[in-house]
Symmetry: C2
Subunit: 152 residues, 2 copies
């Protein structure tokens, strides 16, 4: 997939958005975390057109977020399913950050929430900014600056 024009091709945020910036791309990844693997199930969940969904899945395979694998149900033709790679599973902080912001700043009265847990212990986890010695810092207190050499 050709990167879209951006005057700052070395910025990690811009490079992520090159492959994840389409709204449906991250919702496909969200559904994959919830266990969806099949085209028809992504489509039913998202209500997106087949063409758009196929394009998003192809892009996400190309950049290594999903791997495509064939499967065959008894009596049916071979189909593809889509499994998150390690790079795909490492998108969980992006989803957690978006979900947390939306829950606070785009609230609805009730509805499901995604729950994040340590897969080993089952303990609930949340996303936080921490210093090297483990002290937590509130997001509102965090500043973001360009490091030396930034060319934006």
């Amino acid at each position: 997939m050709a990167p879209r024009s951006c005057p700052d091709p070395t910025c990690g945020i811009a490079r992520s958005l090159d492959v994840l910036g389409e709204r449906w791309a991250l919702l496909v990844v969200r559904d994959a975390f919830f266990g969806t693997t099949r085209f028809s199930d992504f489509r039913a969940s998202l209500g997106v057109s087949p063409d758009v969904l196929a394009a998003r899945l192809a892009s996400l395979v190309e950049v290594g977020v999903f791997e495509r694998r064939s499967y065959r149900e008894p009596g049916e033709r071979e189909r593809d399913e889509y499994l998150l790679t390690e790079a795909g599973r490492e998108l969980v902080p992006v989803l957690a950050a978006l979900g947390s912001w939306g829950g606070k700043h785009r609230p609805v009265e009730a509805g499901p929430r995604a729950a994040y847990r340590d897969g080993g212990s089952g303990d609930a986890v949340r996303l936080a900014f921490v210093t090297a010695d483990g002290r937590e810092v509130s997001p509102g207190d965090v500043t973001m600056t360009r490091s030396a050499g930034a060319a934006v």
Copy 2:
């Protein structure tokens, strides 16, 4: 701004992407963290068309990420500048998560990186998943599930 169609309007991820899902939206927010406030400076940094930039800024004002304020340089006409609100500043975890993923999975040989610090102490901070008692859990070990009542 009318929300785009989504079968799951109560999902915080989907609601965030309703307002942030356009790629340029989050790059505008990134530049605002770096100190940009003026239309002409956003445009110079991003190389985006004036129409697209104006539409993104208007949306981001409407949803409360930016506030618009008038200023006037000596001898010039009044112009608008755009300042991050508290809700806008709370997007820093989204940017940090995207930047971290892009730095690892869409690497380039060299280039600027964003640096995140505690504005009070100046200590460097990074985004991490932590348990209630402060234990850090690797993103690759974090599972994401729908809470009870989820309707996706």
